[in-house]
């Protein structure tokens, strides 16, 4: 799918991304991780074409891209149903059931909890049947229960629908538990990528995040130990 080759991105005079080369694996979940200020948001902006690289080439951008941010603005008090049917008339009931929104379809979005709203937005995104789903720290403002529910639901839907996902996550535990591929950005805007098992390198992660990590366990039950 999407390929970046030797991409350099500058904000003004400041170089944010440096010779980034990576291949976004189609129909897999990729997590983009890195310390604050490493350029994760900038990289996402490249994918949505909100930014252009100064050097390097980006090819293979899919036609249908959907974005889910940390906070998604809604300027009208739409009900869940109205949000889901904004671009299409028909609602997929199985998806709605998976998102635990069946009983909430007629509820206005402002009346839902943050977690429920974020799930509704996920439903909105999937209604567009995108090839690529970009998620920018989707779990940051959710409480723990909803963080896991959201990521678990995302993975189930991804396995069913086979769309490609790239998501920025702060929580390494979640990133390693719910992805197939990891893209690791460091302070200098350099990217390393690989399968989750290959990227589970304690030393590399400790250096990049400048924090000692003692153990990285990759299994479906999601746990990483911090020092």
């Amino acid at each position: 799918m999407l390929q970046l080759k030797d991409v350099d991105v500058y904000r003004g005079d400041q170089q944010v991304l440096s010779k980034v080369t990576a291949d976004l694996r189609p129909q897999q979940i990729t997590s983009l991780i890195g310390p604050n200020g490493s350029g994760k948001s900038t990289l996402l902006q490249l994918l949505t074409k909100a930014l252009e690289p100064r050097r390097g080439v980006i090819t293979g951008r899919p036609l249908s891209i959907a974005l889910l941010a940390q906070r998604n603005e809604l300027h009208e008090p739409l009900t869940v149903r109205e949000l889901l049917t904004m671009t299409t008339d028909v609602i997929d009931d199985t998806v709605v059931a998976l998102l635990q929104l069946t009983a909430l379809l007629e509820t206005p979005m402002p009346e839902l909890s943050g977690g429920q709203q974020q799930l509704a937005w996920l439903g909105f995104v999937l209604q567009q049947q995108p090839e690529l789903v970009i998620l920018d720290e989707p779990t940051t403002y959710l409480d723990l229960q909803y963080q896991h529910l959201f990521l678990e639901t995302l993975r189930q839907l991804q396995q069913q629908r086979q769309f490609t996902v790239i998501m920025v996550l702060h929580d390494l535990t979640q990133a390693f538990a719910y992805s197939d591929q990891i893209w690791l950005l460091n302070d200098h805007g350099q990217l390393k990528s690989g399968a989750v098992a290959d990227m589970a390198d304690v030393d590399q992660l400790s250096t990049t995040f400048k924090t000692p990590l003692t153990d990285v366990i990759v299994n479906q039950q999601h746990l990483i130990v911090h020092a």
């Binding site: 959907a66 300027h75 009208e76 739409l78 567009q128």
Partner: protein, 313 residues
């Protein structure tokens, strides 16, 4: 419930219109009209009716413009006056009258054209997509600048301030044509207005032609504002307040659906303010815009205080 609410507003409006037709510095008795008293009919048709029509229609587009701007700019704190558009169109209209005094008969149409000009200029030269309160401040600064320019332009020329007491049937015709054109633009834009519930970034990713919809609405608002300002003068805050009043009566309603109610409230407000302006100090007349300003300032403050949950940032 919403339908009933609109019907009630319509009914109150009808009553207000009838009252406006009958009272004033000279009271017209229904009795006289019924009997075909030509003097009564003459007064009604020459002076009262044009004025009433302009107040009702003008009030509607005042409210409508405010709501439409709030929708497409995703900002509930603004209207055409707060953004400086009204003062801008006034400046263009006054400027045209100074340069071409013969255009006085067409000043409503001139106002509308000025509205298009100012709207394009605003979109191109004024910073957009700033935080909501910042947009308000930028707008007020714009308004003040145009006000100063207007004062300079009209300074030695002794131009009459706009007033509803001097409106003619020619003005009514121009206004109605402008309203119809605006409505046609609105109808074209209508199906896409729902997407303004989403952020601009989301809409872009969905692939919808947001600029086209935005421009249709901005031009409609521009011509309506220009025409209105030529007739009424600059009236601050009402375009922003009227949608909130409509929303108060029907919470959890989407902005698009509030358009009829907002327009009805606008008509109600304007016709009654005009009636008050004509009668409260009879036989002298207050400027309608003065009556409106007396109400709108405090109302806007109340609106900001009450709505601070949604309004800020």
């Amino acid at each position: 419930m919403k339908q009933l609410y609109n019907w009630i507003l319509g009914g109150v409006l009808l009553i207000s219109i009838i009252i406006a037709m009958l009272i004033g510095s000279t009271t017209i008795a229904i009795h006289d009209l019924w009997q075909g008293n030509t003097q009564a009919w003459h007064m009604l048709l020459t002076y009262r009716l044009p004025r009433i029509i302009i107040a009702v229609v003008g009030g509607a587009i005042l409210g409508g413009s405010g709501l439409l701007l709030q929708i497409v700019l995703r900002n509930r704190l603004i209207d055409a006056s707060i953004l400086g558009i009204m003062n801008g169109t006034q400046f263009v209209t006054i400027g045209s009258l100074v340069l071409l005094p013969a255009s006085l008969n067409w000043h409503v149409g001139v106002g509308a054209l000025g509205g298009i000009l100012i709207m394009i200029g605003w979109r191109l030269f004024i910073p957009q997509n700033r935080p909501r309160l910042q947009m308000v401040l930028i707008g007020i600064a714009t308004a003040m600048t145009f006000q100063a320019l207007t004062n300079i332009a009209s300074e030695g020329f002794g131009l009459p301030l706009p007033s509803l007491s001097t409106v003619t049937w020619a003005d009514v015709m121009q206004l109605l044509i402008i309203v119809v054109i605006g409505l046609m633009l609105l109808i074209l834009a209508w199906p896409n207005l729902k997407f303004y519930a989403l952020s601009a970034q989301q809409v872009r990713l969905l692939g919808f032609n947001e600029p086209r919809t935005m421009w249709l609405i901005l031009i409609a608002v521009g011509i309506w504002t220009g025409a209105l300002t030529a007739l009424l003068g600059v009236v601050f805050f009402l375009g922003a307040i009227l949608p909130q009043i409509a929303r108060l009566m029907a919470p959890r309603t989407k902005s698009q659906q509030l358009l009829p109610a907002t327009m009805l409230w606008g008509s109600l407000l304007l016709i009654n303010a005009d009636t008050v302006a004509r009668t409260i100090l009879a036989p002298k007349e207050l400027a309608t815009s003065a009556v409106l300003l007396a109400i709108s300032g405090p109302l806007f403050a109340v609106m900001l205080l009450k709505g601070s949950r949604h309004a800020t940032t």
